[in-house]
Symmetry: C2
Subunit: 333 residues, 2 copies
């Protein structure tokens, strides 16, 4: 009951202003329980205690390349995150940053710890190794008074939480299989996300994918007819379900198909949880996402649901690192 | 992270020893993180700090009608719950009691409050009005140092939690539709549960169903060929999702089919969550339970997952009333 009460709007910042960051801004605009007050990109940041306008912000970012050029609210800065965090009051940040390089999210967390800022951080990172890096910061985050929720997008995130709920029917979990379908009309709207996906392909890694030019990405997608098909991906759903005590990480598999030329999903995103009941029966629960829900809705929606839950934890003095498999996200109105 | 640590087995009691209570005892037996130390029925109770044996307990209950007759561990008592709670050390209780009459669960909660016992209570009740009665005890539970998690079975419980997770993709929830299929080989194994189901039928209420003799139940089931088909049931999923801020209760519907003569489910239990995304699309997420999972697995599994989560809350000093839609259940090994 009490955990769920929000008395005044939560002041929210978004770090990173690519496809996800922009979707986050649009998603927040109509909310009453949250107010979008800040965002940062590589060259600058914007802040307005009364709320930023997503249309103006997105237009400025598209036209001039940084939120730092935003009239009145913008500040150009080569240390945009640090300057924003130090100078302005924000309750929680959604880290809508591509985790490229793979140490980036942990580096940002260290910046927050160092800054003395106390609040809630939520990320939508993907890789197991990235969560492992954050685990090393558990004590520092706690001591700093930061409540950090990791893996709070779609997968890991929404699907991991659904798996954690579903697991309750079983005495032992045999497998958790996540299969995602993503359809996007135009890959250039999600340049960083697509590079993160390419990094999972067999002949690529994070560094080679990150360093690809747009032309190289285009050429690769021409070869695959716009399709990126992925199997046995390094995805943090595995470590998150292991940390939640549900099953060893090697029982969790993640794969999917991304169609970069068609907003229609190539398959319905789903997670299948197979286990043995206390009565000795083997069975499978299935959670399937509606095809009309986009990656943006399935990533940003949960992220803010976890941010709201994180604020409730923080207000009770509960700090440190948590994953999406441990905490029930709270619906944001 | 920290929330999930269990250093010594949780001492668990089960109140009520009908079909659900017996299933709970069997489910707990192989667990390392929990130890089944106590159970009570109307005529007595059993307690053993080193753990009770489910086979012996169930045999004694069947043969003699009460756990109070259990050799060494049993005590006959007309105030079995009160005596058990007052005299023995138990960390948390699963209230596997039929809520007949409809005030029964709240009355039991009041008994716990009055007793001075501090610990975790979990119920698997079904009706909205029963949760409303517990809501009135919120402050008393908190003051008494009791962490009470309500609606923690299958529906409400597992399916409500899945709906709460699924809702995160949407800006607004249009409907949550729960449809359950239950197949049981022999209704007499779940005499109280079946009466709770009959109470939802159009010509019955809680009192008339409760007062039915076994012969009357049999005669009714002969007329329906063993099928109980239910629509628009009064089910607490609605108030739980409303309290969690997800949607008004009138957007939540619950119905289902119980086959009392066939262990095979007449349909696959599922919850469909329909909403509008921030991008204006309408879509439906679906969570479907594997047909091989029984009512017992889907009720008792979640109940103990919530009990473990409740212990973590209690250890942090968080007391009062919570629902299955607010808290992530924790997997019990």
């Amino acid at each position: 009951m009490i955990i769920n009460k929000v008395n005044q709007p939560i002041k929210v910042g978004v770090l990173g202003f690519g496809g996800l960051g922009q979707a986050a801004a649009r998603l927040l605009a109509p909310k009453g329980e949250m107010i979008w007050v800040a965002a940062a990109d590589r060259q600058g940041y914007a802040y307005n205690a009364l709320g930023l306008n997503p249309n103006t912000a997105i237009k400025t970012y598209h036209d001039r390349g940084s939120l730092g050029y935003l009239d009145a609210d913008g500040t150009l800065s080569a240390h945009s995150i640090q300057d924003l965090v130090t100078n302005h009051s924000v309750d929680g940040y959604f880290l809508a940053l591509p985790n490229l390089p793979n140490t980036f999210m942990a580096d940002v967390a260290k910046q927050f710890i160092k800054s003395g800022w106390q609040g809630v951080l939520v990320d939508a990172l993907k890789r197991t190794s990235a969560v492992e890096q954050l685990l090393e910061l558990q004590k520092d985050l706690q001591a700093a008074g930061i409540t950090y929720l990791t893996g709070c997008g779609a997968t890991p995130g929404l699907l991991t939480a659904a798996a954690a709920v579903a697991a309750q029917s079983y005495a032992e979990i045999h497998s958790v299989n996540i299969t995602f379908g993503v359809g996007i009309a135009n890959w250039e709207a999600y340049k960083a996300t697509i590079r993160e996906d390419i990094a999972h392909m067999s002949e690529y890694d994070v560094e080679t994918a990150r360093s690809m030019s747009d032309e190289e990405v285009s050429a690769l997608l021409d070869k695959t007819n716009g399709i990126i098909a992925l199997e046995n991906m390094e995805h943090a759903d595995d470590i998150m379900l292991e940390l939640a005590g549900i099953c060893d990480r090697d029982r969790v598999t993640v794969g999917g198909v991304v169609d970069t030329r068609n907003p229609k999903k190539p398959l319905s995103t789903n997670v299948q949880i197979t286990g043995r009941t206390f009565e000795g029966k083997t069975s499978t629960h299935t959670f399937t996402l509606g095809d009309e829900t986009t990656m943006a809705a399935n990533v940003c929606g949960p992220a803010f649901g976890y941010l709201k839950a994180g604020i409730a934890l923080k207000r009770r003095g509960i700090t440190g690192l948590f994953t999406a498999a441990e905490i029930m996200p709270q619906f944001v109105k």
